[in-house]
């Protein structure tokens, strides 16, 4: 519904998609993206705890993100303290379910990047 109202506000009746993607789409709630260079095990565990649908799973040295389970609620972005951002991606259709599962390597070992979340 939010999308529909934003579309109306532009004053242009019909979207040009698939020839062009509307510029307002990147500002809407979407799946998270991660800064792997400053992602730590501690934060990854915290992100897993913050995710209400189990879309984020902390494995050894890797954060597994299941885009199929992500609802774009933004709790990981709130808990991520700058390490997690909104990706702005919404064209996520997949032919194989496995394509929706992304692995983010955990590169940092510092205890708390950017002072962490809360």
């Amino acid at each position: 519904m939010l999308w529909f109202l934003r579309g109306l506000r532009r004053g242009i009746v019909t979207t040009r998609y698939p020839d062009a993607i509307d510029d307002w789409t990147s500002t809407l709630p979407s799946a998270p993206a991660f800064r792997s260079a400053v992602l730590t095990d501690l934060l990854a565990a915290r992100l897993q705890a913050a995710c209400p649908t189990g879309a984020l799973r902390h494995d050894a040295g890797v954060l597994v993100v299941d885009l199929g389970s992500c609802t774009g609620c933004g709790r990981c972005i709130a808990a991520g303290g700058g390490v997690v951002e909104s990706s702005g991606e919404f064209l996520l259709s997949a032919r194989r379910r496995d394509d929706l599962i992304k692995r983010i390597p955990i590169n940092a070992t510092a205890a708390e990047p950017f002072g962490g979340g809360h």
Binding site: A33, L67, S69, S87, R95, R97, L100
Partner: protein, 166 residues
């Protein structure tokens, strides 16, 4: 004896021929297997002037026998099994099945005595559209991917901002 590679090639050719049959007139039947109706709300918006899916040659039909493509939402409640199988079996081949939303993709409900929890545990799925709910543009992309008019891009997508992120 047909080798596995030959089988893959034949399957790909068959799929291409099936997709070309859909042309620019494809009829969609939506099936709700217990969703909260927000996916349906977004699907309905596809008909609004802003998204206007008719310009792309997609139309909705209430009859599964007239449908080429099924948009299935919800976590597949077991009580709905008979109706779901009837709809899937009544849809003539070649058909495409799209799982819509995080419920149908297995993200929200675990498998238990009430729900299957994911559509692909019950019927074969051709395209998965994630989102809670998927936006109308995401649904449009899923439809175009399903009929082969767009390539999917999520397999190449990186969510790592430090390694060529989105």
């Amino acid at each position: 004896m047909i080798g596995e590679q030959q089988l893959d090639v034949t399957a790909a050719e068959l799929r291409e021929r099936a997709l070309s049959l859909f042309g620019r007139s494809l009829h969609i039947r939506t099936v709700d297997t217990g969703s909260c109706a927000v996916c349906e709300s977004e699907i309905r918006l596809l008909q609004a002037p802003h998204y206007d899916l008719h310009r792309l040659g997609f139309f909705f039909t209430p009859a599964p026998r007239h449908a080429d493509l099924l948009l299935i939402t919800g976590p597949c409640v077991r009580a709905f099994d008979n109706a779901l199988f009837e709809v899937v079996n009544a849809t003539p081949d070649p058909k495409a099945v799209i799982a819509v939303g995080a419920c149908a993709l297995g993200g929200i409900y675990p498998e238990d005595e009430f729900v299957h929890g994911a559509l692909d545990r019950v019927v074969g799925v051709d395209v998965y559209i994630p989102g809670c709910p998927p936006s109308p543009l995401a649904l449009l992309q899923g439809l175009l991917v399903a009929v082969g008019r767009l390539e999917e891009r999520v397999s190449e997508l990186s969510l790592d901002l430090d390694r060529g992120g989105p």
